[in-house]
């Protein structure tokens, strides 16, 4: 069992099933990468680096996007 904390919620993955990169994680969650900004353990990951940014278990990931606001 491997765990990633995504937007404050722990998500469990069966051994070997944890996404290896941010790009893979977004694909699994069916979130369109073009609309998202990511933070891994408090550090911003640029969109161009989603495919290269390796994830390791226990990391805390924030996925944010623009919403309507004043």
């Amino acid at each position: 069992m491997e765990i990633l904390k995504i937007n404050g919620v722990e998500k469990k993955f069966a051994a070997g099933q944890m996404p290896k990169t941010i790009a893979e994680l977004l694909e699994q969650l069916r979130v369109e990468a073009a609309t998202v900004v990511a933070e891994v353990d408090g550090g911003i990951v640029e969109r161009e680096k989603f495919a290269q940014t390796k994830l390791s278990k226990g990391q805390s990931i924030e996925l944010v996007r623009f919403v309507p606001g004043g």
């Binding site: 995504i6 937007n7 404050g8 919620v9 969650l29 069916r30 979130v31 369109e32 609309t35 998202v36 900004v37 933070e39 911003i44 640029e46 969109r47 924030e62 996925l63 944010v64 996007r65 623009f66 919403v67 309507p68 606001g69 004043g70």
Partner: protein, 258 residues
Amino acid sequence: MVDNLVIAGREFKSRLMVGTGKFASNSIMALAIKRSGTEIVTVALRRVDIENKDDDMLSAIDRKKYLLLPNTSGARSAEEAVRLARLARAATGINWLKLEVTPDPYYLLPDPVETLKAAQILVKEGFVVLPYINADPVLAKRLQDAGTATVMPLASPIGSNQGLRTRAAIEIIIEQANVPVVVDAGLGLPSHAAEAMEMGADAVLVNTAIATADKPEEMAEAFKLAVQAGRMAYQCGPRAASRAANASSPLTGFLRNS
């Protein structure tokens, strides 16, 4: 008469900024934005809702026509605002930011100490900072000295539709400012926006009054016209009010014997 709004060296024909919150749908939002004539629209940054992914609102906004102005709404401290600002910059590639720090959830009044602290950090990091503040002339000067691109004093609490409750303080801010003054929050009617512009505000930001009207698209145009009328009146040199009457018609030649 060319009378463009200039913020941080960038020119805008429209003096109306529009917030994108509270519209019934992205398509109504897009129509209202278009009808308002605005060139600057605000957006917020939030966690992706993994369980309930709705439409991407940005697809409804033509980035070639409108400057996206991300806000830091939800931030309760300078630290949180700076974090949101950096995320917004990573998302848009642009460094414009509406800075707001509102720890109090009931009146949503901005925290002056945290706002100034965040502004000082963000200006150093190269952001074009448009800070949302209470109508405090001293704070406005401190922010301007810190290098913010505008000051954005509130007319009344966000979304309250109360109009220009802070008029006297905003007059002082306008008198002292050497950056554009954008009256933000609480403008509930086009007449409120016109009043702010007549006073010499450089621009206004409107969201709730447009988005929650029965006819948002038409209300957007009503605000557009009011902002234009108010600006035009300001440039015409309006006269001060007097307590007594001043006759408009001649006071001689009456049809009566002395």
